[in-house]
Symmetry: C2
């Protein structure tokens, strides 16, 4: 195993047209959510935006929240909170993985 699968999820390689298809959102909407600091695509040297699968999932959640009438400012707060929880959870997950690997050595 060269990579762990998580590296695929976070690698920014998808262009906006494909993200639009994957999420059902328009490019206009996707760019707007970036201006509202909800997602953070990378840029190629020439300025083209690149997104990750994680961004795609976040965008789908954003769309769901907006349909419920939640403001982007509120969504931003929740996404930040979630990211914090994720960090904590990963610490524990890695601990568990380490124990499992130590015992099984698959």
């Amino acid at each position: 195993m060269t990579y762990n699968d998580a590296s695929y999820k976070d690698k920014k390689v998808i262009s906006i047209g494909t993200v639009s298809e994957l999420t059902g959102l328009t490019e206009r909407q996707i760019r707007y959510y970036e201006s509202r600091q909800l997602i953070f695509p990378e840029r190629t040297k020439t300025g083209l935006r690149k997104y990750s699968f994680q961004d795609v999932e976040t965008l789908i959640e954003i769309a769901n929240h907006l349909e419920e009438g939640v403001w982007t400012s509120e969504i931003r707060k929740e996404l930040k909170k979630r990211e914090q929880q994720l960090n904590n959870s990963n610490i524990r997950t890695n601990l568990i993985k380490g124990q499992i690997n130590a015992h099984f050595k698959i």
Copy 2:
């Protein structure tokens, strides 16, 4: 968990320029290996090629083989063999996963 991570690996969403960066191969080379039946990108309605992370990994292996002087026809045979083995291995892996899940129910 909405998706399992494998779905990211096989989803064809990366355009050829990005694949070129990821692999260090020229677009010419990447298209040529397709003509030799070593990789199978999808196409958008308008004809643009889309690759998966799995394709990227395969391309890197192709490049390594070619450096060793192996012909594309030989590489094709090996890739087919490998795919067959992968199928068998997945059957067993899923069996094991099922057993683990049945006992731990994380």
